[in-house]
Symmetry: C2
Subunit: 390 residues, 2 copies
């Protein structure tokens, strides 16, 4: 096990009827809030009304920034920062999925400095503090509600960059699984694939062969996410299914899965950020389209961890008396079967991306790999993986 | 899944050579520290010298309170509180296992009030703040290094009471697995049994049948703890084994395993606190002696969860096509086999406690059950379990 620091100070309020706590939980940090949210769904399902009511009851004045889109844009963050400064905002609330929460975090970071917020993402400026951020999660997927990361897309350059810092942990996150009842089947599935991808990338890219505690935790989470996703697709108002999906997606990327693994890569996200930066695909759909091809690359080059993962996720299903490459193959088959069952794309062509586009995606990914300091992902290697996804 | 609040702000510094951070991590909270520690081992293995050196280098003045024993005593805590007040202590450091850390927490709580510290444990006074506490863990078992609980024994009344409050989370805990190399085989095994018991009690006493995320996490932790304990007993300086044991014991009782399970009981600890309160047995030894009898009670009365646990902890080993009671039996057999292998007592007589003592233990446990508000544990029920342990 590698050395690590684990320090996650986010307070989670989980369960039914936790939403009315947003007022008092926000009041603790200030009385002037910026409420960041997405498009129609928050107002359609009544969540917006409950949030504003709770904030009003607590005496918190609200300024709004709606219409945040998937793959959130720098321009929108800049707009939010301007508003936050003008309105002397004291606390930012992100109510939605990862895109909304990341936008809230970026505004909170940009509102306390004079320079442009993008400088954090390009590494030109360090972060020294932020406004406090609270969140109301409606779409389990990114884990941003309990971690210190954020991802933003530069409008013109189409660069989708990530940035992480301990100041970016939300103060309080409200996780009410009932708020995710109205997430449609495709986004429910994309969220599950996103969460599973976070775990798979850690599990398969660690160089530490001796992390049994983390391995079992990750295997259990993947199995939980798959089962929960199936339940949610069968019955969108299955509370237990929605609760399991929400909590396991949060745990997938709150620091615990990676703690002790040492340096890990994020190759799937490297590729997908370039993909959705260029083509504005849904993040989870992009990951699903890349997943089988990427796993086949591992199956050929480093099958041992994949075989172990298969045994852990599908105990008793994968034959134990065959070579690791065969076990890895079995695992990929079972996962692919599940991806088809939940009706997500499983190759780039299914996503509308052609083989001819691969060099461009690989070039962008390679540029990103340099910024993320993942220099082991050369352009030929990334092209190799991408071609397996066609 | 039940509603829950999860908020664990303790910073964990995990790994080799993390001990020298104790100076700066303490300096962040003050320059006058009370260093609480146990008996010989800390000085014998050089940990004491490293801690005092690091504190001196950081400019932190130390007052010492050594000689803390297992099943720590109220009298010693009162002594520490007096010293803390006299010396105007700003931060308390617990360097040792659960007994030492709990003593440090109790001193930190008592040093900021005028009334006697025992009033927290009897529920006569509420806690409003504490001095900050840092810890250096040398014996993985109790989980106190990353939770908000503490346990103390009243010298004269022989009551061993627990108390928990969010103010009692340590600020920073240093977990260097190498510091546990000198833990002897019996205490290594007791620690593993303690950690496993924490999980078993949650797993078996929850009334919520729909907690798949938590179930898989707990099953994985139990399997990890057993495997890690075996490694440590085989080679006390197996870093990976010591690291797995330390981290899994911490995760076993840091709030994550219980989050979402709803109200859980703590029957084994109820019995064991009375046992060690009366007989001053080592906590882990007492738990080991109670474990098989307690599990047999479940096997007869509620075998389903026990059967499921067996499948999760020993995948592929327990036959799946037999009734739950038989699967539960298999699980108990395998666990008992392991307890014998790690050489811990597996019944009360092995611990030197005779059947004639049972009514007294049950009476004490029943009194404790009332304080813990676990009224379902009547004296006849507790006697029933205890007789199975003979």
């Amino acid at each position: 096990m590698h050395n690590f620091v684990f320090h996650n100070p986010t307070k989670i309020l989980f369960g039914k009827q936790t939403l009315p706590s947003i007022g008092p939980e926000t009041k603790a940090f200030g009385t002037r809030a910026l409420l960041v949210y997405g498009q129609q769904s928050l107002k359609q399902n009544g969540t917006y009304q409950q949030i504003t009511q709770s904030l009003a009851d607590a005496g918190v004045a609200i300024t709004e920034l709606g219409n945040i889109q998937a793959n959130p844009l720098l321009s929108k963050v800049r707009e939010g920062i301007l508003v936050a400064k003008q309105e002397k905002i004291e606390v930012v609330i992100g109510a939605g999925g990862g895109s909304v929460i990341d936008t809230a975090k970026a505004i909170a970071a940009g509102a306390v400095v004079e320079h442009d917020v993008w400088k954090f993402f390009t590494g030109k400026k360090g972060i020294k503090g932020t406004l406090p951020v609270n969140t109301v999660l409606t779409l389990p997927a990114s884990g941003s509600e309990m971690n210190s990361g954020m991802v933003l897309t530069h409008d013109e350059k189409r660069q989708k960059f990530g940035f992480g810092h301990r100041f970016l942990f939300p103060k309080t996150s409200i996780l009410d699984p009932e708020l995710s009842y109205t997430v449609p089947p495709d986004y429910t599935a994309y969220g599950a694939v996103d969460a599973i991808s976070h775990i798979l990338e850690f599990y398969l890219t660690t160089k530490d062969p001796d992390t049994p505690v983390q391995d079992k935790f990750m295997e259990g989470l993947i199995a939980s996410i798959m089962a929960a996703c199936n339940r949610c697709l069968k019955d969108p108002t299955d509370y237990g299914g929605r609760a399991s999906l929400m909590w396991s997606a949060t745990l997938a990327l709150n620091g615990l899965t990676a703690a002790g693994l040492g340096r890990v890569g994020f190759p799937m996200h490297l590729l997908e950020h370039s993909l959705s930066g260029l083509y504005n695909t849904a993040h989870g759909a992009g990951l699903a389209a890349l997943l089988p091809g990427w796993l086949h690359y591992y199956q050929e080059n480093a099958p041992e961890r994949l075989a172990m993962l298969g045994k852990g996720v599908f105990p008793g299903t994968i034959p134990a008396d065959v070579p690791a490459t065969d076990m890895a193959d079995h695992f990929i088959d079972l996962l692919l079967q599940w991806l088809r069952q939940i009706n997500v794309p499983t190759s780039l062509p299914e996503l509308g991306v052609a083989a001819a586009d691969i060099p461009t995606i690989a070039e962008h990914s390679c540029g990103l790999a340099k910024i993320w300091r993942l220099r082991e992902y050369s352009q030929p290697l990334l092209e190799n993986i991408l071609f397996r996804c066609c």
